[in-house]
Amino acid sequence: MGKEIAEARYYRKKREQQKLFDLLYVIFRSLLIIGISFIIIYPIIQKIAVAFKDKADIYNPTIYMIPVNFTWENLTMAMSILDYFPMLGKTLVFVVVTTLFTAASCALAGYGFARFNFPGNRILFGVVIITILVPTTTLMLPYYLHFKNFDFLGIIGLFNGKSGVNLINTYWPSIITSATAIGLKAGLFIYIFRQFFKGLPKEIEEAAFIDGAGGIQTFFRIMLPNAIPPMITVVLFCFVWQYNDTFYTTLFMSGMELMSLKVATLPSQADQFIPVLMGYSHSSGFKADPNHVAMVVDTGILLAILPLLALYLVVQRYFVESIERSGIVG
């Protein structure tokens, strides 16, 4: 009898200890999560606060985050310096086109590597992995020269007798590289698609084959509709990386109006144009307050990431799910 009571007391004590431990753990975890989330979100909140802050508030030390004098001036200034809406339109067209080409060519290649036993399959897939590993810096110079005098197997030379066409500062270099699955991080996308298609049951294709569908038809009517999860992953990654890319854009399109290029040069642009926008002429020698320039630059950065944030709010639910099912894990 006495032994049972002692045992019950022992277990109750143990349970209470466990409860306390769990509670402490939950508190610790919440603090950690809130802290890390704060570090990630803080710069965005700060930029939003700055975007609506008036010049008059710059030297007011009592202001934290929420400005006293609201203004749209920073937004309009940043927009006119960036030439925002026309430039955003061009950027989006460019990014969407390259993303679609990349997704299409990588899906085809991924399926080819996953399901067909042509000679050299394994070696060629090894080559895909190597293309992921070699830094693109190595290829920078030949790429530049190649697209400066672009000539596919001498075909263009046959027609106009010259050595090729200059494709620098057009959309073509990026479109060509993405359509041939060689562009920005394409190796990684081929890898994702291959892993996913390898994971699908072979019986699906056999059934389609028995029903009389050819190989190409099987791919478009049956395999592709099943490949939604890797598709979302690839499209989102590709979109975002193209949008933010400075490597290929500075190499191929340094003279064009694209978001990443514009944002990278925003500070010097702002320095130059703010006095003009404020109504001073170039010759007057008026220099804008550096703090004011910094404010406009911050607003410009916010404007640049705004489309991505909007996109992310819509797709982030599918995004995490699709990563889980897209078979990166193999």
Binding site: I41, L108, A109, G112, P135, L139, Y143, V240, N244, A264
Partner: protein
């Protein structure tokens, strides 16, 4: 074309070439050819002319110039590689930690996950450059900016170092921890994709394993090291490789190679530099691969 004479097997493998066709064309003409050209450039002196370019063979001179003559190359290469070696373990540790955290059940998990993956969307060299030059603009000079960042952070650092040394942690390790604390923002923002990969890996571990372990009386700590860690170990290698490659894109060495080619017009030297860099990184990856390959558990 006579299709009757071709066996079904042959037809199928031809179809395979159809599917990888776009990639194959791209690879042959837009990857392999430039790659070979790049090797060729590194042994020559290249001059741009109105009609294409001319090459003049110079042997190993470009490589010699890169290593022994150029004032910046050695310094930037060592600091880039060193920075990479330092940051890879930190990013790996943080992303594994966050992934385990995000894999647990708690209220607001969807929101937390959305926030943790935000850096994947926002990581941009363009924005980084704008922010940095914005700051330089604000303060007046780049060197003063560095000094100021050093000054504002040194206050906390010394106290942390002393506490760490008091506990009995060796100086080099204390130094490493302090570096990690100071660069926490860049670690968090550059580990988005790694968290995603680890999270997907964690979800692929069958739940039954944990149930069995719990029944046998294993603690959470034990089941992490005995089940979770071995099960996700292949993805650790994937993540290391991804992190190393990711650190190329914005590193100062890339900028140096770019400016050597397009600002000082020294194309041969630039090609030689990029090959030295590639070989160093490849060696680094090979060492990691060999060391980890034996310890990885494939199921």
């Amino acid at each position: 074309m006579k299709l009757k004479g071709i066996s079904l097997y042959r037809k199928r493998s031809m179809l395979g070439f159809f599917f990888i066709g776009p990639w194959l064309i791209g690879f042959l003409f837009l990857y392999l050819t430039p790659l070979i050209q790049s090797v060729k450039f590194s042994f020559t002196k290249l001059e741009i002319q109105p009609e294409g370019y001319s090459l003049l063979s110079v042997g190993w001179e470009n490589f010699r110039n890169a290593v022994f003559v150029d004032a910046n190359f050695n310094r930037i290469l060592t600091s880039s590689v060193w920075e990479m070696i330092l940051s890879v373990p930190m990013i790996l540790f943080f992303s594994l930690f966050s992934a385990t955290l995000l894999n647990q059940k708690f209220r607001g998990r969807t929101l937390t996950r959305a926030i943790f993956f935000l850096p994947v969307i926002l990581a941009s060299n363009a924005i980084e450059a704008a922010e940095k030059s914005g700051l330089i603009n604000l303060i007046g000079s780049a060197s003063y900016l560095e000094e100021m960042q050093g000054a504002t952070s040194s206050y906390n650092v010394t106290s942390i170092v002393y506490t760490l040394l008091d506990i009995g942690i060796p100086l080099t390790f204390a130094d490493y921890i302090v570096t990690a604390i100071l660069s926490i923002y860049s670690i968090i923002t550059s580990s988005g994709v790694q968290i995603l990969i680890f999270l997907a890996a964690l979800q692929s571990v069958p739940n039954t394993m944990y149930e069995v372990a719990k029944m046998e009386g294993a603690t959470a700590y034990e089941s992490f090291w005995k089940i979770t860690f071995p099960m996700i170990s292949p993805l650790i290698l994937t993540n290391i490789i991804y992190t190393v490659i990711d650190s190329f894109s914005g590193s100062p060495i890339t900028t140096l190679i770019y400016s050597t080619a397009f600002t000082s017009q020294n194309f041969g030297l630039s090609a030689a530099m990029s090959w030295i860099y590639t070989i160093v990184v490849a060696g680094f990856l090979a060492i990691i691969g060999v060391v980890l390959a034996k310890r990885i558990h494939y199921n």
